[in-house]
């Protein structure tokens, strides 16, 4: 689970990066680890990654910006992922999205001011038989309709 922004342990990250020294092919694994522990990719850490793995900062940024899982801004404590795959779309994910955005007061892709929630829309979580699907952290909610949204949000502080 994503932690608070300023909480990340720089030293342990440095140790982790060190284990992949001069292994440019490990870039995505390294970035994933940083994203998971720090909740985003802080610039000073990326500079360190480029130096240790033997890549230019541009190359690191080029790869990091390509993949949807990497963010350059801090994430919330809880990550809400709304599925917009075909089955969910056909079964009315749009109304769920509108309710989520209204309840949280943010748009998809953003984080609430108190960093309680981040909201993302993804293409398919692969639970098509149970559409529409919302995932909060590792919990999956099936057959979500807008009325269920407040109840789901209340479970996460």
């Amino acid at each position: 689970m994503a932690q608070l922004v300023d909480d990340y342990d720089r030293e342990s990250l440095t140790c982790f990066i060190q284990t992949h020294r001069n292994q440019p092919a490990s870039l995505i694994q390294v970035l994933s680890h940083i994203q998971q522990t720090a909740g985003y990719l802080p610039k000073p850490v990326l500079v360190e990654v480029s130096e240790k793995l033997g890549l230019s900062l541009t190359e690191v940024y080029s790869t990091a910006s390509f993949y949807a899982f990497f963010t350059f801004r801090p994430r919330g404590r809880h990550n809400i992922v709304l599925c917009n795959g075909t089955a969910c779309y056909v079964k009315g994910t749009g109304a769920v999205r509108a309710t989520l955005e209204r309840e949280l007061g943010i748009r998809a892709g953003d984080t609430t001011a108190d960093r309680r929630f981040s909201l993302d829309v993804v293409r398919c979580l692969g639970c098509c038989a149970l559409a529409p699907v919302v995932m909060v952290d590792k919990d999956v909610y099936a057959g979500v309709d807008p009325a269920k949204v407040p109840e789901i949000l209340n479970k996460y502080q």
């Binding site: 995505i28 390509f66 149970l130």
Partner: protein, 572 residues
């Protein structure tokens, strides 16, 4: 472990699993209670059902008699959470935690089947006791899904009991690499990722290609919205994929494999890693496998959220730590793949087919299916259909059999409009063509593709312009931006479709849309771009009147499109 020890282990493991074939084993257990733990059932609450079962079994002191096992996905996701009680194979559906307690007291203690949790046949109204009797399963033939939902995916013993790791020693102990490839070629197996390239031919090319080391890659970047076959196999039967990869490693002389799995599938990654660890510990992976002198190991690479990485050259770039952008082919990965070395890359479902093909022979597999499409295919059935979930049918089965017999027909008594196969790279097959037998060629002739197996049922309330707009939004969103036709062309197509859906169409928009579609199809760099226009091509071919209605009369026949939005508002 060597082959003798493996045989011994198989013997013991089989003994323990006899209960699931309706016989009493010698280990004292009287019941195996299987709880489906696929992601679908997890979201309908199977964890609390499992916990309730375990608690109640412990409370009543039945631990020596009852084993509770969490399995992978059995398939019928809309019936979850699912509990199956062996030796009788009694199938309970939509089980709650309270029901679970009741099952322990009634069924496990008193030997009385809980009638209220049995599945009632929608045709005859009869209560059905076991899952093979249920219409959803009747027309299925499970080869890829042979173990899914029936074994504990975290137990290598249960895989071995069901003929797992029987093909690998046979290959290592007595077959030449050429003979292995010949068997795969004879089976007629074609790539299940969607393109349908003959697997044996691909292996042969990699074997002959100069260059060392060689690599084996599993494509588990299942990004097609509406598809979850690969996830279920990785979650429910990870060893079948590992065994398939190891066999290929021997056939093409590779010592290293990578499994690329998307980060959206945490349970699949967990179970696959557990399988790797167990196989290594058991001497079925790593150095000198089964003391037969062959080295092979597999590592997981987790995807980072990019649909285009399902394209093989993009995926190989991503494994190498780079941007997941495709490159032109040839050279094909078989000649120049991962780290520029000869590489065999196959989809999860393709890999899971390999062990049974080796065990039963290529001819056995080739006897299933149609003339050019052999074997079975797994589909993820979803959308406006009564029974949703995973189904595996012999190729050549008609769409009608899948949608109506297995799927139980369209939901809420609505009329079937189309079946979308192949996701954003495929097309909508109109209801009139529902008697088409499913194979690679027949679907292509209808302007769709087999694809990886997503099958979305669309009813009369769905607007085809809106559906095409949805897919184009997806394609332009996921376009990696490397080539112009895909980056800019699909954007323009999306804009036209948006105009159509808002009642702002300009003169000639529909013709322009079709023209663009053809140009992009012919000029894009990779499969994502080349097939991206398919949803538009197939819907304009079959539902042109709907497009014209949107364009000329500014009307949406189903009311799905927000036609009344004024242009000024729409721009916001």
């Amino acid at each position: 472990m060597n082959t003798e020890e493996l045989t011994k282990l198989r013997h013991t493991a089989r003994e323990a699993l006899r209960l699931r074939e309706g016989q009493l084993p010698t280990d004292g257990f009287e019941f195996h209670v299987l709880v489906c733990g696929g992601t679908g059932c997890v979201s309908s609450g199977c964890k609390s059902v499992r916990n309730a079962l375990v608690d109640e079994v412990t409370k009543r002191g039945l631990e020596q008699k009852v084993r509770v096992i969490e399995t992978g996905c059995l398939g019928p996701c809309n019936l979850g959470p699912i509990v199956t009680v062996y030796p009788d194979g009694v199938f309970y559906h939509k089980v709650t935690a309270d029901d679970a307690v009741f099952i322990v007291r009634e069924h496990l203690e008193q030997g009385r089947v809980v009638q209220g949790l049995l599945y009632r046949s929608p045709e005859t109204g009869q209560l059905l006791r076991t899952w093979p009797e249920i219409p959803f399963f009747r027309k299925q033939r499970r080869i890829v899904l042979r173990n899914c939902g029936l074994i504990d995916p975290l137990s290598i013993g249960e895989y071995i009991a069901r003929d797992g790791y029987a093909a690998l020693p046979r290959v290592l102990g007595g077959m030449t690499p050429e003979a292995v490839i010949e068997e795969v070629r004879k089976s007629g197996l074609r790539g299940r990722g969607g393109a349908g390239f003959p697997t044996g031919v691909k292996w042969d090319a990699a074997r002959r290609a100069p260059g060392n080391p060689k690599y084996v890659v599993c494509n588990g970047d299942e990004g097609d919205p509406g598809a979850f076959m690969d996830r279920s196999v990785l979650e429910g039967d990870p060893h079948s994929v590992l065994e398939g990869m190891a066999i290929c490693g021997y056939a093409v002389d590779a010592a290293k494999g990578y499994a690329y799995i998307r980060a959206e599938y945490p349970l699949a990654i967990e179970n696959f890693q557990a399988a790797i660890d167990q196989a290594r510990a058991g001497g079925l992976l790593g150095r000198n496998i089964l003391d037969l002198g062959f080295d092979f190991d597999v590592e997981i690479r987790v995807g980072a959220g990019a649909f285009v990485c399902g394209e093989e050259t993009a995926l190989l770039n991503s494994i190498a730590g780079k941007r997941g952008e495709p490159r032109p082919r040839p050279p094909f990965p078989a000649q120049c793949g991962l780290f520029d070395k000869p590489t065999v890359i196959n989809n999860v479902e393709t890999w899971a087919n390999i062990p049974p093909i080796i065990t039963n022979g290529g001819d056995w597999y080739a006897a299933i299916g149609t003339e050019k499409s052999k074997g079975t295919k797994v589909f993820a059935l979803a959308g406006k259909v009564i029974n949703t979930g995973l189904v595996e049918v012999p190729l050549g089965t008609t769409l009608r059999e899948v949608v109506c017999d297995i799927g139980g027909g369209v939901k809420d008594g609505k009329k079937l409009k189309a079946v979308q196969t192949g996701g954003p790279s495929g097309g909508a097959i109109p209801a009139e063509q529902i008697d088409t037998p499913i194979d690679y060629e027949a679907l292509a002739a209808l302007g769709s593709i087999m694809g990886s197996g997503g099958m979305i049922v669309v009813d009369e309330d769905t607007c085809m312009v809106d559906l095409a707009r949805f897919f184009l939004e997806f394609v332009q969103d996921e376009s990696c931006g490397k080539c112009t036709p895909c980056r800019i062309g699909t954007r323009r197509m999306y804009e036209i479709l948006t105009r159509l859906s808002q009642g702002r169409a300009q003169k000639g928009d529909v013709d322009l849309l079709i023209e663009l579609a053809h140009v992009i199809k012919n000029s894009a760099l990779c499969g994502l771009g080349q097939t991206g226009p398919n949803p538009v091509l197939s819907t304009t071919a079959n539902y042109r009147h709907e497009y014209d209605l949107h364009a000329l009369e500014k009307k949406c026949p189903t009311g799905a499109c927000p036609m009344r939005i004024k242009p000024a508002q729409a721009r916001k």
